[in-house]
């Protein structure tokens, strides 16, 4: 028995063939050598030959290159491949076969295959057994495949459900925030004061849907108006709740007392009782006497206002003493008075104005604000606020707002 006959006799399918048949096959079958990665044939191709693997490994792949590509089997020495197209009526390959390693094969044409079965009918029976086993394996693979696909589908469905729930939740939250925004805006004055000899303006732009900034105009007795600009610490809903609380307290205290210092001391007492979170509020609250044009204010940890006279000159208000509200039982608070002469302008603002940053993180700053006020002091008060806000937006970009922004302008006639 030569080397090829020996090799053929080790193939299980041919093991029971008589010696003469082995000799014949050894003389007629053509040996092939293939490099790793070689595609022996492709799924769907017409096939007119099958192969017996002598050495090496071959991968049997369905739907190669497609999204659902799958490895349906690996064939090794002693197994045959490509026989399905010889048995199929249409002669098409049912899978792609690729060499997984360096491999050696024996090639058999359709004619040789048919002749062999004709000479050795018992081999057909053995072949059916092998094919049956492969069919079983393929069946199990198909079921596993289906189960895996089903699992992936279920997972995708659950993820979709979760995502949908999140979208609904987010939608609800956004709706609630919109309602909160409306409520917060409704807390602020709906109309500017209409007082002979004065022109008022105001703008507020929260960083989020709701914020901690506020302003207020409170009509008081004897031709006076309470004017407040404040900033509850933090952002978003917690700041908005503290802001609403502070505005309510301020209105109540302002109606009981004409002294801004005592009003803010009263607000502070109430805030300390009601706020356990260590949050605080800065406020500039003042009382404008419309007859004398005097504005007496208390600055509780808040920025000083900008005061500009009719000729565009800046007058620096006295800083005085003024601690934050909501932190200490007896904050130091004093009162300062400025007189708003004819044509002079007072701008009260929150720190979001001067802390707006450009793309290089440079703050807008007090200097730019003063300049902006001085160059627009002859405009109506509302336009002064609009102009400053416009300049801020140009400076830092509308999407780059880092804090709530509030501006209140009083122009003396």
């Amino acid at each position: 028995m030569n080397e090829t006959e020996l090799m053929i006799s080790r193939v299980p399918l041919f093991a029971s063939l008589p010696g003469g048949e082995l000799e014949y096959l050894a003389a007629t079958l053509r040996p092939l050598e293939v490099a790793p990665g070689t595609i022996l044939f492709c799924e769907g191709d017409y096939g007119d030959r099958s192969y017996v693997i002598v050495a090496g490994q071959f991968e049997v792949i369905e739907a190669m290159g497609a999204a659902d590509e799958r490895l349906v089997g690996v064939r090794g020495p002693g197994e045959f491949i490509g026989e399905m197209s010889l048995l199929n009526l249409d002669g098409r390959r049912t899978a792609t076969v690729r060499a997984a390693s360096h491999a050696r094969l024996l090639e058999m044409t359709r004619g040789e295959f048919d002749a062999l079965l004709h000479r050795q009918p018992m081999m057909a029976y053995e072949m059916v057994q092998v094919l049956n086993a492969r069919l079983d394996a393929s069946h199990h693979n198909a079921i596993r495949d289906l189960e895996e696909k089903n699992r992936q589908l279920m997972q995708a469905y659950e993820e979709l459900e979760a995502a949908q729930a999140q979208i609904i939740e987010k939608g609800k939250l956004e709706q609630e925030l919109q309602v909160a925004h409306k409520i917060q805006m409704s807390i602020l004055p709906r109309r500017l004061p209409n007082v002979k000899g004065f022109d008022f303006g105001a703008r507020i732009r929260p960083m989020r849907a709701v914020g901690g900034d506020f302003f207020d105009f409170i009509p008081l007795d004897n031709g006076t108006i309470g004017i407040a600009v404040g900033d509850a610490s933090g952002h978003g809903v917690p700041a908005a709740l503290l802001m609403a609380l502070t505005v309510t307290l301020l209105r109540a205290e302002a109606c009981r007392d004409c002294s801004p210092g005592r009003v803010l001391a009263g607000v502070n007492r109430q805030l300390l009782n009601l706020n356990d979170e260590g949050m605080f509020v800065t406020i500039l609250y003042g009382v404008l006497n419309c007859a004398t044009h005097e504005f007496t204010y208390t600055r509780a940890g808040h920025e000083l206002p900008v005061l500009c006279s009719a000729d565009g000159q800046l007058n620096n208000p006295v800083s005085g003493r003024g601690q934050l509200l909501g932190l200490f039982a007896d904050p130091m608070l004093d009162e300062q008075t400025v007189t708003l002469g004819p044509g002079s302008l007072l701008l009260v603002y929150t720190d979001g104005v001067i802390e707006a940053r450009d793309e290089h993180a440079v703050a807008f700053g007090e200097e730019r604000l003063r300049e902006a006020v001085c160059t627009s002091h002859q405009l109506p008060a509302q336009l002064v606020c609009d102009r400053v806000l416009e300049q801020l937006t140009t400076y830092s970009g509308i999407d780059a707002q880092r804090d709530d922004i509030t501006l209140v302008c009083v122009l003396a006639g």
């Binding site: 900033d231 610490s233 933090g234 952002h235 260590g278 949050m279 605080f280 800065t282 509780a300 940890g301 808040h302 920025e303 000083l304 800083s319 003493r321 003024g322 601690q323 934050l324 932190l327 200490f328 039982a329 007896d330 904050p331 130091m332 720190d351 802390e355 703050a363 804090d403």
Partner: protein
């Protein structure tokens, strides 16, 4: 924000937080947490070195105020009434928390918020440590 902690001996042992970076919305909790930890482990005299702090936001003001309150609460001998009266009269300064080396911009924020009314602000670390 980074916080490097050092310990110095003046008349009393002093913990120094050398803070680097903004104290803002994102970072204030780190400052509070680290301060809370050292107070729990015995620190009663703390200096915040602000030399490398470019900006303190309102959250930073809140954190500094909170640390002041914790240190005050941890130190018997200063009754709330005494502190309140001292604050009202402008005579009170914390004997447990000091600030040092704030930039011009940070100093402006601290004074606007009235922090300088109850905390000493020094321009020299040695001087701040010696002042306890």
């Amino acid at each position: 924000m980074e916080i490097r902690v050092s310990h110095q001996q003046g008349r009393v042992p002093v913990t120094v937080f050398h803070v680097k970076g903004e104290i803002n919305t994102e970072t204030h909790e780190q400052l509070q947490t680290q301060a809370e930890q050292v107070i729990q482990t015995g620190t009663r005299h703390l200096v915040l070195d602000l030399a490398e702090v470019p900006y303190v936001s309102s959250y930073g003001i809140r954190a500094i105020s909170q640390i002041f309150t914790w240190l005050r609460d941890a130190s018997p001998g200063e009754s709330a009434e005494t502190v309140s009266k001292g604050m009202r009269d402008g005579t009170f300064k914390s004997s447990h928390l000091k600030l040092v080396n704030p930039s011009h911009r940070v100093l402006a924020v601290l004074t606007t918020a009235g922090i300088d009314m109850f905390l000493e602000i020094h321009s020299d670390l040695e001087q701040a440590v010696a002042s306890f």
